[in-house]
């Protein structure tokens, strides 16, 4: 197994941890962190698979660089929205119970 594949497999593992965290953690801050872990996993997969042939491929590297910056911007916006929710509701979690009730009424 080449070093490139080790990176890609580690990336896949990180992505899966992120998915599990996103679904299991109710706190929004943890969900945002889990989403970032997912993103880091994807970046690692892209860069890892990009150098399977032995030479690094500049195209996925440029895509990852773009992706990192977009991820930062998305995280900041998500944090601002989560804080807004904290101000309005007093807690940083999605209102699950009320949603379920609405669905029952319908």
């Amino acid at each position: 197994m080449s070093a490139a594949l080790v990176y890609a497999l580690t990336g896949a593992a990180l992505f899966v941890f992120g998915v599990a965290g996103l679904m299991l953690q109710p706190h929004l801050l943890r969900k945002i962190l889990a989403f970032n872990v997912m993103g880091s996993g994807v970046f690692l997969v892209l860069v890892g698979l990009g150098q399977r042939a032995g030479i690094p491929d500049p195209v996925p590297q440029a895509m990852v660089l773009t992706g990192i910056v977009v991820a930062i911007a998305a995280t900041a916006l998500a944090l601002a929205l989560a804080r807004q929710l904290l101000d309005l509701q007093g807690e940083m979690r999605l209102p699950e119970e009320e949603l379920d009730k609405d669905r029952l009424d319908v």
Partner: protein
Amino acid sequence: MKTLLNVVVLLLASTLGLALGWSMLDLPVAAVRLPEQVTAQLDMSGVAHPVTAVLLNFRGYDTLLEIAVLLAALLGMLVLPRHVAGRENRPVPASTMLQTLARLLVPLMVLVAGYVLWAGAYQPGGAFQAGAVLAGAGVLLHLAGLLPAWVTLGQTLRAGLAVGLLVFIAVGAAVMAQGTLLQYPPDWAGALILAIEANLTLSIGLILAGLYLVLTNSGERA
């Protein structure tokens, strides 16, 4: 019920992980050899580093949209209602040690940002790395109590935030006369890329710093 959900999610997640890992081990060799195409065209791109060539020339529209996304994220944060009252506008006083350190480091960080921007033409570096260093300088200044959080943005600041995207669009529109969007003439490519990157660095630095400086202001309860 909660435990059951945990078990189901963990089972599904491990299945996903195994499927991903297995498909990666089984992946066929790519049909298109992108690295060789990039190397073959590198002389036309105006820069000597392949990643910069891909970012600013071959796939320039990715970068154009990226700076647009950055700006949109900051605008999205600015339209959220914020607590604007008394205390939080003023920087929190920090220790003299930190303030002195910040005063020494920030000019160096600006210098490093300029170097990283210039170096991007022939080695790893470029507008995004340089912008990140600039943003780091801004955050350091705020933490040292030397730079207030952003409450209202003045005209100059707004112009600085937008100049990267506007110059990029202007260059894209200007070269469209002789071909497709963002296809630079080879003789001019180096100069155009440097002009775009210099403006991008300023905007990215300001926007990234702004993401922090807007957020840090909005949270302090009135």
